[in-house]
Protein backbone atom coordinates (compact mmCIF):
# COMPACT_ATOMS: atom_id res chain seq x y z
CA UNK A 1 0.00 0.00 0.00
CA UNK A 2 2.70 2.46 1.03
CA UNK A 3 4.92 1.33 -1.83
CA UNK A 4 2.04 1.92 -4.22
CA UNK A 5 1.46 5.42 -2.82
CA UNK A 6 5.10 6.37 -3.21
CA UNK A 7 5.35 4.87 -6.68
CA UNK A 8 6.40 7.46 -9.23
CA UNK A 9 7.39 10.13 -6.70
CA UNK A 10 11.03 11.07 -7.10
CA UNK A 11 13.32 11.03 -4.03
CA UNK A 12 13.77 14.75 -4.63
CA UNK A 13 10.07 15.37 -4.36
CA UNK A 14 9.82 13.27 -1.22
CA UNK A 15 12.66 15.21 0.32
CA UNK A 16 11.00 18.53 -0.47
CA UNK A 17 7.70 17.26 0.88
CA UNK A 18 9.37 16.09 4.08
CA UNK A 19 11.14 19.44 4.46
CA UNK A 20 7.90 21.33 3.97
CA UNK A 21 6.18 19.13 6.51
CA UNK A 22 8.95 19.72 9.03
CA UNK A 23 8.69 23.48 8.57
CA UNK A 24 4.93 23.32 9.03
CA UNK A 25 5.28 21.10 12.09
CA UNK A 26 7.74 23.51 13.68
CA UNK A 27 5.91 26.68 12.63
CA UNK A 28 3.80 27.19 15.81
CA UNK A 29 6.99 27.19 17.87
CA UNK A 30 8.19 30.30 16.06
CA UNK A 31 5.10 31.94 14.71
CA UNK A 32 3.43 34.68 16.65
CA UNK A 33 -0.33 34.71 17.28
CA UNK A 34 -1.06 36.61 14.11
CA UNK A 35 0.99 34.38 11.82
CA UNK A 36 -0.50 31.30 13.44
CA UNK A 37 -3.99 32.59 12.65
CA UNK A 38 -2.97 33.07 9.03
CA UNK A 39 -1.47 29.58 8.86
CA UNK A 40 -4.66 28.08 10.29
CA UNK A 41 -6.62 29.83 7.58
CA UNK A 42 -4.22 28.54 4.92
CA UNK A 43 -4.52 24.94 6.08
CA UNK A 44 -8.27 25.27 6.38
CA UNK A 45 -8.52 26.33 2.74
CA UNK A 46 -5.92 23.77 1.65
CA UNK A 47 -8.00 21.00 3.17
CA UNK A 48 -11.33 22.14 1.72
CA UNK A 49 -9.70 22.88 -1.63
CA UNK A 50 -8.46 19.31 -1.68
CA UNK A 51 -11.99 18.05 -0.96
CA UNK A 52 -13.57 20.24 -3.63
CA UNK A 53 -10.92 19.16 -6.10
CA UNK A 54 -12.17 15.56 -5.93
CA UNK A 55 -15.43 16.66 -7.50
CA UNK A 56 -14.13 19.22 -9.96
CA UNK A 57 -10.52 18.27 -10.60
CA UNK A 58 -11.04 14.53 -10.70
CA UNK A 59 -14.64 13.91 -11.75
CA UNK A 60 -15.19 17.19 -13.61
CA UNK A 61 -18.29 18.27 -11.68
CA UNK A 62 -18.29 21.97 -10.87
CA UNK A 63 -19.70 22.70 -7.44
CA UNK A 64 -20.25 26.35 -6.59
CA UNK A 65 -22.05 25.47 -3.41
CA UNK A 66 -19.53 23.75 -1.20
CA UNK A 67 -20.40 26.15 1.61
CA UNK A 68 -23.42 23.88 2.01
CA UNK A 69 -21.27 20.99 3.22
CA UNK A 70 -19.07 23.19 5.40
CA UNK A 71 -22.20 24.67 6.97
CA UNK A 72 -23.98 21.36 7.49
CA UNK A 73 -20.90 19.92 9.14
CA UNK A 74 -20.47 22.99 11.32
CA UNK A 75 -24.10 23.22 12.37
CA UNK A 76 -24.55 19.50 12.99
CA UNK A 77 -21.55 19.24 15.31
CA UNK A 78 -22.20 22.59 17.00
CA UNK A 79 -25.90 21.85 17.64
CA UNK A 80 -25.07 18.44 19.12
CA UNK A 81 -22.53 20.10 21.38
CA UNK A 82 -24.72 22.98 22.47
CA UNK A 83 -27.89 20.98 23.00
CA UNK A 84 -26.65 17.60 24.17
CA UNK A 85 -23.05 18.17 25.17
CA UNK A 86 -21.88 15.72 22.53
CA UNK A 87 -18.24 16.43 21.68
CA UNK A 88 -17.04 17.32 18.17
CA UNK A 89 -15.42 13.98 17.42
CA UNK A 90 -18.64 12.12 18.09
CA UNK A 91 -20.42 14.97 16.34
CA UNK A 92 -18.28 14.24 13.34
CA UNK A 93 -19.93 10.83 13.13
CA UNK A 94 -23.19 12.68 12.51
CA UNK A 95 -21.80 15.64 10.57
CA UNK A 96 -20.11 13.58 7.87
CA UNK A 97 -23.17 11.45 7.05
CA UNK A 98 -25.42 14.54 7.07
CA UNK A 99 -23.20 16.34 4.56
CA UNK A 100 -22.65 13.20 2.49
CA UNK A 101 -26.40 12.63 2.38
CA UNK A 102 -26.98 16.22 1.26
CA UNK A 103 -24.35 15.69 -1.43
CA UNK A 104 -26.04 12.47 -2.48
CA UNK A 105 -29.37 14.28 -2.74
CA UNK A 106 -27.98 17.10 -4.89
CA UNK A 107 -26.05 14.59 -6.96
CA UNK A 108 -29.02 12.29 -7.41
CA UNK A 109 -31.27 15.08 -8.63
CA UNK A 110 -28.64 16.36 -11.01
CA UNK A 111 -27.22 13.15 -12.39
CA UNK A 112 -30.49 11.24 -12.54
CA UNK A 113 -32.07 13.97 -14.62
CA UNK A 114 -28.92 14.72 -16.60
CA UNK A 115 -28.40 18.22 -15.24
CA UNK A 116 -24.85 18.97 -16.32
CA UNK A 117 -22.28 21.71 -16.80
CA UNK A 118 -23.33 25.20 -15.77
CA UNK A 119 -26.81 23.99 -14.86
CA UNK A 120 -25.30 21.59 -12.37
CA UNK A 121 -23.22 24.44 -10.95
CA UNK A 122 -26.35 26.55 -10.56
CA UNK A 123 -28.10 23.69 -8.80
CA UNK A 124 -25.27 23.50 -6.27
CA UNK A 125 -25.60 27.25 -5.62
CA UNK A 126 -29.34 26.83 -5.21
CA UNK A 127 -28.99 24.19 -2.49
CA UNK A 128 -26.47 26.27 -0.56
CA UNK A 129 -28.92 29.17 -0.76
CA UNK A 130 -31.81 26.95 0.41
CA UNK A 131 -29.71 26.06 3.40
CA UNK A 132 -28.85 29.68 4.09
CA UNK A 133 -32.48 30.73 4.08
CA UNK A 134 -33.63 27.56 5.82
CA UNK A 135 -31.17 27.84 8.69
CA UNK A 136 -32.14 31.48 9.13
CA UNK A 137 -35.53 30.16 10.28
CA UNK A 138 -34.46 27.02 12.07
CA UNK A 139 -35.04 27.53 15.80
CA UNK A 140 -33.05 24.48 16.75
CA UNK A 141 -29.91 26.25 15.58
CA UNK A 142 -31.14 29.67 16.79
CA UNK A 143 -31.90 30.91 13.28
CA UNK A 144 -30.40 34.14 12.12
CA UNK A 145 -29.49 35.11 15.68
CA UNK A 146 -26.61 32.70 15.39
CA UNK A 147 -25.47 29.61 17.25
CA UNK A 148 -22.81 30.24 19.87
CA UNK A 149 -20.58 27.68 21.45
CA UNK A 150 -19.79 28.28 25.12
CA UNK A 151 -16.32 29.74 25.46
CA UNK A 152 -14.51 29.25 28.73
CA UNK A 153 -11.15 30.64 29.67
CA UNK A 154 -8.89 27.76 28.74
CA UNK A 155 -6.12 26.70 31.00
CA UNK A 156 -5.23 23.60 29.05
CA UNK A 157 -5.94 22.12 25.64
CA UNK A 158 -8.98 19.90 25.65
CA UNK A 159 -8.55 17.93 22.45
CA UNK A 160 -11.65 15.83 23.07
CA UNK A 161 -13.92 18.89 23.16
CA UNK A 162 -11.76 21.04 20.86
CA UNK A 163 -11.38 23.75 23.46
CA UNK A 164 -7.98 25.29 23.61
CA UNK A 165 -5.11 27.14 22.04
CA UNK A 166 -5.11 27.93 18.29
CA UNK A 167 -1.99 25.76 17.92
CA UNK A 168 -4.18 22.73 18.61
CA UNK A 169 -6.45 23.67 15.72
CA UNK A 170 -3.38 24.25 13.62
CA UNK A 171 -2.07 20.73 14.20
CA UNK A 172 -5.47 19.17 13.65
CA UNK A 173 -5.80 20.97 10.31
CA UNK A 174 -2.24 20.07 9.35
CA UNK A 175 -2.95 16.41 10.04
CA UNK A 176 -6.20 16.66 8.05
CA UNK A 177 -4.46 18.32 5.10
CA UNK A 178 -1.75 15.67 5.01
CA UNK A 179 -4.34 12.92 5.30
CA UNK A 180 -6.41 14.46 2.52
CA UNK A 181 -3.36 14.69 0.27
CA UNK A 182 -2.51 11.03 0.83
CA UNK A 183 -6.13 9.99 0.42
CA UNK A 184 -6.48 11.93 -2.84
CA UNK A 185 -3.34 10.37 -4.22
CA UNK A 186 -4.61 6.92 -3.33
CA UNK A 187 -7.92 7.73 -5.01
CA UNK A 188 -6.20 8.95 -8.19
CA UNK A 189 -4.18 5.77 -8.40
CA UNK A 190 -7.19 3.55 -7.91
CA UNK A 191 -9.78 2.21 -10.32
CA UNK A 192 -12.22 4.88 -9.15
CA UNK A 193 -9.68 7.61 -9.93
CA UNK A 194 -9.25 6.40 -13.50
CA UNK A 195 -13.00 6.28 -13.98
CA UNK A 196 -13.39 9.81 -12.60
CA UNK A 197 -10.77 11.19 -14.96
CA UNK A 198 -12.44 9.42 -17.87
CA UNK A 199 -15.79 10.95 -16.93
CA UNK A 200 -14.18 14.38 -16.56
CA UNK A 201 -12.60 14.09 -20.00
CA UNK A 202 -15.57 12.74 -21.95
CA UNK A 203 -18.68 11.42 -20.28
CA UNK A 204 -20.07 9.80 -23.42
CA UNK A 205 -16.84 8.00 -24.20
CA UNK A 206 -16.58 6.92 -20.55
CA UNK A 207 -20.05 5.42 -20.74
CA UNK A 208 -19.13 3.63 -23.97
CA UNK A 209 -16.11 2.16 -22.17
CA UNK A 210 -18.53 0.53 -19.73
CA UNK A 211 -18.34 3.01 -16.87
CA UNK A 212 -21.48 3.49 -14.81
CA UNK A 213 -21.21 7.28 -14.97
CA UNK A 214 -24.07 7.97 -12.56
CA UNK A 215 -22.57 5.79 -9.86
CA UNK A 216 -19.09 7.26 -10.04
CA UNK A 217 -20.30 10.85 -10.16
CA UNK A 218 -22.40 10.14 -7.07
CA UNK A 219 -19.37 8.68 -5.35
CA UNK A 220 -17.35 11.83 -6.11
CA UNK A 221 -20.01 14.12 -4.64
CA UNK A 222 -20.53 12.00 -1.55
CA UNK A 223 -16.81 11.70 -0.77
CA UNK A 224 -16.21 15.39 -1.45
CA UNK A 225 -19.15 16.52 0.66
CA UNK A 226 -18.27 14.21 3.54
CA UNK A 227 -14.66 15.37 3.57
CA UNK A 228 -15.68 19.01 3.39
CA UNK A 229 -17.95 18.69 6.41
CA UNK A 230 -14.95 17.91 8.63
CA UNK A 231 -13.61 21.38 7.90
CA UNK A 232 -17.02 22.70 8.95
CA UNK A 233 -16.77 20.99 12.32
CA UNK A 234 -13.36 22.55 12.89
CA UNK A 235 -14.71 25.92 11.75
CA UNK A 236 -17.51 25.77 14.31
CA UNK A 237 -15.23 24.92 17.21
CA UNK A 238 -12.55 27.38 16.17
CA UNK A 239 -14.76 30.41 15.71
CA UNK A 240 -17.38 29.41 18.28
CA UNK A 241 -20.18 31.14 16.40
CA UNK A 242 -22.24 30.29 13.36
CA UNK A 243 -24.52 32.52 11.34
CA UNK A 244 -26.38 31.12 8.32
CA UNK A 245 -25.77 34.41 6.57
CA UNK A 246 -22.03 33.80 6.88
CA UNK A 247 -21.38 30.09 6.62
CA UNK A 248 -23.74 29.34 3.74
CA UNK A 249 -23.06 32.53 1.82
CA UNK A 250 -22.01 32.10 -1.81
CA UNK A 251 -18.85 34.07 -1.08
CA UNK A 252 -17.77 31.19 1.17
CA UNK A 253 -18.26 28.79 -1.72
CA UNK A 254 -16.23 31.01 -4.03
CA UNK A 255 -13.41 31.33 -1.48
CA UNK A 256 -13.23 27.55 -1.38
CA UNK A 257 -12.70 27.13 -5.10
CA UNK A 258 -10.19 29.95 -5.66
CA UNK A 259 -7.32 28.04 -4.09
CA UNK A 260 -7.49 24.97 -6.31
CA UNK A 261 -8.11 27.15 -9.38
CA UNK A 262 -5.04 29.27 -8.72
CA UNK A 263 -2.97 26.28 -7.62
CA UNK A 264 -4.05 23.97 -10.41
CA UNK A 265 -7.34 22.10 -10.79
CA UNK A 266 -6.99 18.34 -10.85
CA UNK A 267 -3.47 18.35 -9.41
CA UNK A 268 -2.73 16.95 -5.98
CA UNK A 269 -0.60 19.79 -4.70
CA UNK A 270 -2.45 22.63 -6.43
CA UNK A 271 -5.09 23.16 -3.73
CA UNK A 272 -2.40 23.37 -1.04
CA UNK A 273 -0.20 25.75 -3.00
CA UNK A 274 -3.24 27.81 -4.00
CA UNK A 275 -4.24 28.23 -0.36
CA UNK A 276 -0.77 29.49 0.51
CA UNK A 277 -0.73 31.92 -2.43
CA UNK A 278 -4.21 33.34 -1.90
CA UNK A 279 -4.19 33.71 1.86
CA UNK A 280 -0.59 34.88 1.73
CA UNK A 281 -1.48 37.40 -0.94
CA UNK A 282 -4.47 38.73 0.96
CA UNK A 283 -2.46 39.18 4.13
CA UNK A 284 0.45 40.78 2.27
CA UNK A 285 -1.90 43.22 0.57
CA UNK A 286 -3.45 44.14 3.91
CA UNK A 287 -0.04 44.60 5.52
CA UNK A 288 1.38 46.58 2.59
CA UNK A 289 -1.59 48.91 2.41
CA UNK A 290 -1.43 49.35 6.17
CA UNK A 291 2.27 50.21 6.01
CA UNK A 292 1.61 52.73 3.25
CA UNK A 293 -1.18 54.25 5.27
CA UNK A 294 -3.75 53.70 2.53
CA UNK A 295 -7.20 53.58 4.06
CA UNK A 296 -9.69 53.69 1.20
CA UNK A 297 -12.61 51.25 1.47
CA UNK A 298 -12.45 48.48 -1.13
CA UNK A 299 -8.90 49.17 -2.25
CA UNK A 300 -7.72 45.92 -0.70
CA UNK A 301 -10.28 43.91 -2.66
CA UNK A 302 -9.41 45.66 -5.90
CA UNK A 303 -5.71 45.05 -5.43
CA UNK A 304 -6.34 41.42 -4.48
CA UNK A 305 -8.55 41.02 -7.56
CA UNK A 306 -5.91 42.45 -9.87
CA UNK A 307 -3.24 40.12 -8.49
CA UNK A 308 -5.59 37.16 -8.90
CA UNK A 309 -6.40 38.17 -12.45
CA UNK A 310 -2.72 38.37 -13.23
CA UNK A 311 -2.00 34.89 -11.86
CA UNK A 312 -4.92 33.31 -13.71
CA UNK A 313 -4.10 35.04 -17.00
CA UNK A 314 -0.41 34.19 -16.85
CA UNK A 315 -0.88 30.61 -15.66
CA UNK A 316 -4.32 29.37 -16.74
CA UNK A 317 -3.48 25.78 -15.74
CA UNK A 318 -2.58 26.94 -12.28
CA UNK A 319 0.64 27.79 -10.52
CA UNK A 320 1.54 24.28 -9.44
CA UNK A 321 2.01 22.72 -12.93
CA UNK A 322 4.27 25.64 -13.79
CA UNK A 323 6.20 25.56 -10.52
CA UNK A 324 6.51 21.80 -10.67
CA UNK A 325 8.27 22.05 -14.02
CA UNK A 326 10.46 24.86 -12.66
CA UNK A 327 11.71 22.96 -9.66
CA UNK A 328 12.10 19.77 -11.65
CA UNK A 329 9.38 17.64 -10.12
CA UNK A 330 6.92 15.55 -12.00
CA UNK A 331 3.50 14.57 -10.86
CA UNK A 332 1.97 11.86 -12.97
CA UNK A 333 0.49 13.45 -16.10
CA UNK A 334 -3.26 13.68 -15.86
Amino acid sequence: MIARLLEGISPRALLMLAALLLVLLAAPLFAGDYLLTVLILILYFAYIGQSWNIMMGFAGQLSLGHALYVGLGAYTAAALYVHYGIGPWLGLLAAVPVAALAGAFVGFLAFRFRVAGVYFAILTIAFAEFARVGFDHLNFTRGSAGLFLPVTQFTHNDLWNLRGHPAMFYYILLAATVAALIFCRALLQSRVGYFWLAIREDEEAARAAGIDVFRYKMLAVVISAGMTSFAGVIYAFYYNNLFPEQVFHILRSIEIILGPIVGGIGTLFGPILGAFILTGLAETVTAALGALGVDIPGVKQVFYGVCLLFVITALPDGVWPWLRARIGLTERQK
Binding site: Q189, S190, R191, Y194, F195, L197, A198, E201, D202, E204, A205, A206, R207, A208, A209, G210, I211, D212, V213, Q333, K334
Partner: protein, 243 residues
Amino acid sequence: MSALLSVNGVSKRFRGLVAVDRASFDVAEGGIFAVIGPNGAGKTTLFNMIAGMFPPDAGTISFASERIDGLPPDRVCRRGIGRTFQIVRPFPALSVEDNVIVGALLHRHDVGDARARAHEVLRRLDLYDKRGQRASSLTLPDRKRLEVARALATDPKLLLLDEVMAGLRPTETDRMVAILRGLNRDTGLTILLIEHVMRAVMALASRILVLHHGAAIAEGPPEQVIRDRAVIDSYLGVEAIGA
Protein backbone atom coordinates in the same frame (compact mmCIF):
# COMPACT_ATOMS: atom_id res chain seq x y z
CA MET B 1 -21.43 -21.01 -36.48
CA SER B 2 -24.10 -19.49 -34.28
CA ALA B 3 -25.10 -15.85 -34.39
CA LEU B 4 -23.39 -13.71 -31.74
CA LEU B 5 -25.43 -10.65 -32.57
CA SER B 6 -28.92 -10.87 -33.92
CA VAL B 7 -30.80 -7.80 -35.16
CA ASN B 8 -34.49 -8.41 -35.86
CA GLY B 9 -36.76 -5.94 -37.63
CA VAL B 10 -35.18 -2.94 -35.97
CA SER B 11 -36.61 0.51 -36.84
CA LYS B 12 -35.88 4.02 -35.70
CA ARG B 13 -37.48 7.28 -36.71
CA PHE B 14 -36.47 10.83 -35.91
CA ARG B 15 -39.36 13.29 -36.14
CA GLY B 16 -41.04 11.33 -38.87
CA LEU B 17 -37.85 10.61 -40.78
CA VAL B 18 -37.27 6.90 -40.95
CA ALA B 19 -33.57 6.46 -40.22
CA VAL B 20 -33.59 2.69 -39.97
CA ASP B 21 -36.41 0.67 -41.47
CA ARG B 22 -36.94 -2.89 -40.26
CA ALA B 23 -33.32 -3.94 -40.51
CA SER B 24 -32.55 -7.58 -39.79
CA PHE B 25 -29.27 -9.43 -39.88
CA ASP B 26 -27.13 -11.87 -37.93
CA VAL B 27 -23.45 -11.51 -37.16
CA ALA B 28 -21.80 -14.92 -36.83
CA GLU B 29 -19.38 -15.52 -34.01
CA GLY B 30 -15.83 -15.05 -35.21
CA GLY B 31 -16.85 -13.24 -38.37
CA ILE B 32 -16.16 -9.77 -39.71
CA PHE B 33 -19.39 -8.16 -40.77
CA ALA B 34 -19.46 -4.87 -42.68
CA VAL B 35 -22.36 -2.43 -43.01
CA ILE B 36 -22.02 -0.17 -46.02
CA GLY B 37 -24.25 2.37 -47.71
CA PRO B 38 -24.43 5.99 -48.80
CA ASN B 39 -24.31 8.86 -46.32
CA GLY B 40 -27.56 9.11 -44.43
CA ALA B 41 -28.42 5.47 -45.02
CA GLY B 42 -28.84 4.90 -41.29
CA LYS B 43 -25.62 3.06 -40.58
CA THR B 44 -24.60 5.07 -37.55
CA THR B 45 -28.16 5.08 -36.21
CA LEU B 46 -28.22 1.30 -36.44
CA PHE B 47 -24.88 1.21 -34.72
CA ASN B 48 -25.96 3.50 -31.93
CA MET B 49 -28.98 1.31 -31.21
CA ILE B 50 -26.75 -1.74 -30.87
CA ALA B 51 -24.38 0.19 -28.61
CA GLY B 52 -27.27 1.42 -26.46
CA MET B 53 -27.12 5.15 -27.22
CA PHE B 54 -30.87 5.01 -27.78
CA PRO B 55 -33.44 2.21 -27.94
CA PRO B 56 -35.04 1.11 -31.22
CA ASP B 57 -38.68 2.11 -31.85
CA ALA B 58 -39.42 -1.41 -32.97
CA GLY B 59 -37.63 -4.72 -33.26
CA THR B 60 -35.19 -6.54 -31.04
CA ILE B 61 -31.43 -6.81 -30.69
CA SER B 62 -29.94 -9.89 -29.08
CA PHE B 63 -26.37 -10.49 -28.10
CA ALA B 64 -25.17 -13.93 -27.06
CA SER B 65 -28.85 -14.98 -27.02
CA GLU B 66 -29.88 -12.21 -24.62
CA ARG B 67 -31.91 -9.12 -25.40
CA ILE B 68 -29.81 -5.96 -25.21
CA ASP B 69 -32.06 -3.41 -26.90
CA GLY B 70 -32.87 -0.60 -24.51
CA LEU B 71 -29.87 -1.23 -22.27
CA PRO B 72 -27.72 1.86 -21.60
CA PRO B 73 -24.28 2.02 -23.27
CA ASP B 74 -22.25 1.12 -20.18
CA ARG B 75 -24.27 -2.06 -19.62
CA VAL B 76 -24.02 -3.00 -23.28
CA CYS B 77 -20.27 -2.61 -22.99
CA ARG B 78 -20.17 -4.74 -19.85
CA ARG B 79 -22.03 -7.49 -21.71
CA GLY B 80 -19.11 -7.65 -24.12
CA ILE B 81 -19.62 -5.12 -26.90
CA GLY B 82 -16.83 -2.58 -27.38
CA ARG B 83 -17.32 0.40 -29.65
CA THR B 84 -15.46 3.25 -31.30
CA PHE B 85 -16.88 6.62 -32.28
CA GLN B 86 -16.97 7.91 -35.84
CA ILE B 87 -15.54 11.17 -34.59
CA VAL B 88 -12.85 9.91 -32.27
CA ARG B 89 -13.29 10.63 -28.58
CA PRO B 90 -10.13 9.83 -26.67
CA PHE B 91 -9.75 11.25 -23.15
CA PRO B 92 -7.61 14.19 -24.32
CA ALA B 93 -5.71 15.14 -21.17
CA LEU B 94 -4.87 11.55 -20.25
CA SER B 95 -1.84 9.69 -21.53
CA VAL B 96 -2.27 7.07 -24.23
CA GLU B 97 -1.61 4.41 -21.63
CA ASP B 98 -4.15 5.78 -19.16
CA ASN B 99 -6.78 5.94 -21.90
CA VAL B 100 -6.40 2.22 -22.44
CA ILE B 101 -6.11 1.43 -18.72
CA VAL B 102 -9.58 2.96 -18.26
CA GLY B 103 -10.95 0.39 -20.70
CA ALA B 104 -8.98 -2.45 -19.14
CA LEU B 105 -10.29 -1.62 -15.65
CA LEU B 106 -13.82 -2.54 -16.69
CA HIS B 107 -13.25 -6.21 -15.89
CA ARG B 108 -10.17 -5.80 -13.69
CA HIS B 109 -10.05 -4.29 -10.25
CA ASP B 110 -6.32 -4.02 -9.88
CA VAL B 111 -4.65 -1.13 -11.67
CA GLY B 112 -1.46 -3.16 -12.13
CA ASP B 113 -3.36 -5.91 -13.96
CA ALA B 114 -5.12 -3.30 -16.06
CA ARG B 115 -1.80 -1.71 -16.98
CA ALA B 116 -0.42 -5.07 -18.07
CA ARG B 117 -3.49 -5.64 -20.24
CA ALA B 118 -3.20 -2.09 -21.62
CA HIS B 119 0.41 -2.70 -22.64
CA GLU B 120 -0.59 -5.87 -24.43
CA VAL B 121 -3.29 -4.02 -26.37
CA LEU B 122 -1.03 -1.04 -27.10
CA ARG B 123 1.60 -3.33 -28.61
CA ARG B 124 -0.99 -4.87 -30.86
CA LEU B 125 -2.09 -1.46 -32.08
CA ASP B 126 1.42 -0.09 -32.62
CA LEU B 127 0.96 2.51 -29.89
CA TYR B 128 3.23 1.10 -27.22
CA ASP B 129 6.05 3.55 -27.94
CA LYS B 130 3.65 6.46 -27.64
CA ARG B 131 2.07 5.31 -24.38
CA GLY B 132 3.45 8.26 -22.40
CA GLN B 133 2.09 10.94 -24.73
CA ARG B 134 -1.06 12.88 -24.04
CA ALA B 135 -3.88 11.58 -26.23
CA SER B 136 -4.54 15.11 -27.48
CA SER B 137 -1.05 15.25 -29.00
CA LEU B 138 -1.61 12.24 -31.26
CA THR B 139 -2.14 12.41 -35.03
CA LEU B 140 -5.50 11.30 -36.43
CA PRO B 141 -4.33 7.80 -37.47
CA ASP B 142 -2.89 7.27 -34.00
CA ARG B 143 -6.04 8.54 -32.36
CA LYS B 144 -8.12 6.15 -34.46
CA ARG B 145 -6.00 3.26 -33.26
CA LEU B 146 -6.19 4.53 -29.69
CA GLU B 147 -9.97 4.47 -30.01
CA VAL B 148 -9.80 0.82 -31.06
CA ALA B 149 -7.31 0.07 -28.29
CA ARG B 150 -9.55 1.50 -25.59
CA ALA B 151 -12.52 -0.49 -26.82
CA LEU B 152 -10.41 -3.63 -27.14
CA ALA B 153 -9.11 -3.28 -23.61
CA THR B 154 -12.64 -3.84 -22.28
CA ASP B 155 -12.31 -7.45 -23.50
CA PRO B 156 -15.26 -7.38 -25.89
CA LYS B 157 -16.63 -10.42 -27.68
CA LEU B 158 -17.88 -8.08 -30.37
CA LEU B 159 -16.11 -4.94 -31.54
CA LEU B 160 -18.19 -2.23 -33.21
CA LEU B 161 -16.10 0.02 -35.44
CA ASP B 162 -17.67 3.20 -36.77
CA GLU B 163 -15.66 4.31 -39.80
CA VAL B 164 -12.26 3.73 -38.30
CA MET B 165 -10.68 4.07 -41.75
CA ALA B 166 -12.23 7.45 -42.56
CA GLY B 167 -9.59 10.13 -43.06
CA LEU B 168 -6.72 7.65 -43.18
CA ARG B 169 -4.17 7.52 -45.99
CA PRO B 170 -4.00 4.22 -47.91
CA THR B 171 -0.89 3.05 -46.04
CA GLU B 172 -2.62 3.79 -42.74
CA THR B 173 -5.71 1.98 -43.94
CA ASP B 174 -3.66 -1.09 -44.77
CA ARG B 175 -2.05 -0.96 -41.36
CA MET B 176 -5.46 -0.85 -39.66
CA VAL B 177 -6.75 -3.66 -41.88
CA ALA B 178 -3.77 -5.81 -40.94
CA ILE B 179 -4.28 -5.12 -37.24
CA LEU B 180 -7.99 -5.93 -37.35
CA ARG B 181 -7.43 -9.05 -39.38
CA GLY B 182 -4.76 -10.18 -36.93
CA LEU B 183 -7.13 -9.61 -33.99
CA ASN B 184 -9.89 -11.56 -35.65
CA ARG B 185 -7.57 -14.41 -36.58
CA ASP B 186 -5.62 -14.65 -33.32
CA THR B 187 -8.31 -14.00 -30.74
CA GLY B 188 -11.47 -14.98 -32.59
CA LEU B 189 -12.84 -11.50 -31.98
CA THR B 190 -16.07 -10.82 -33.86
CA ILE B 191 -16.10 -7.45 -35.63
CA LEU B 192 -18.98 -5.36 -36.93
CA LEU B 193 -17.84 -2.36 -38.92
CA ILE B 194 -19.39 0.54 -40.71
CA GLU B 195 -17.15 1.59 -43.50
CA HIS B 196 -16.99 3.73 -46.60
CA VAL B 197 -13.53 2.68 -47.66
CA MET B 198 -14.34 -0.24 -49.98
CA ARG B 199 -10.68 -1.22 -50.13
CA ALA B 200 -10.84 -2.01 -46.43
CA VAL B 201 -14.27 -3.60 -46.60
CA MET B 202 -13.24 -5.98 -49.35
CA ALA B 203 -10.05 -6.89 -47.53
CA LEU B 204 -11.77 -7.60 -44.23
CA ALA B 205 -15.42 -8.50 -44.46
CA SER B 206 -16.67 -12.04 -44.56
CA ARG B 207 -20.22 -10.69 -44.98
CA ILE B 208 -21.65 -7.35 -46.07
CA LEU B 209 -24.97 -5.64 -45.41
CA VAL B 210 -25.98 -2.74 -47.64
CA LEU B 211 -28.30 -0.10 -46.21
CA HIS B 212 -30.12 2.42 -48.33
CA HIS B 213 -32.63 4.89 -46.91
CA GLY B 214 -32.59 2.90 -43.71
CA ALA B 215 -33.53 -0.39 -45.33
CA ALA B 216 -31.35 -3.39 -46.06
CA ILE B 217 -31.15 -3.78 -49.84
CA ALA B 218 -28.62 -6.58 -49.98
CA GLU B 219 -26.74 -8.94 -47.75
CA GLY B 220 -24.20 -11.64 -48.47
CA PRO B 221 -20.57 -12.45 -49.09
CA PRO B 222 -18.54 -9.57 -50.61
CA GLU B 223 -18.21 -11.02 -54.13
CA GLN B 224 -21.95 -11.42 -54.36
CA VAL B 225 -22.91 -8.06 -52.88
CA ILE B 226 -20.71 -5.92 -55.11
CA ARG B 227 -22.29 -7.46 -58.19
CA ASP B 228 -25.80 -6.80 -56.94
CA ARG B 229 -27.65 -4.48 -59.32
CA ALA B 230 -29.41 -2.48 -56.59
CA VAL B 231 -26.17 -1.95 -54.70
CA ILE B 232 -24.36 -0.72 -57.79
CA ASP B 233 -27.19 1.67 -58.64
CA SER B 234 -27.61 3.11 -55.17
CA TYR B 235 -24.13 3.16 -53.81
CA LEU B 236 -21.12 1.75 -55.53
CA GLY B 237 -21.59 3.11 -59.03
CA VAL B 238 -20.66 1.27 -62.20
CA GLU B 239 -16.91 1.94 -62.05
CA ALA B 240 -16.60 0.17 -58.74
CA ILE B 241 -17.25 -3.24 -60.24
CA GLY B 242 -13.84 -3.21 -61.82
CA ALA B 243 -12.22 -2.55 -58.47
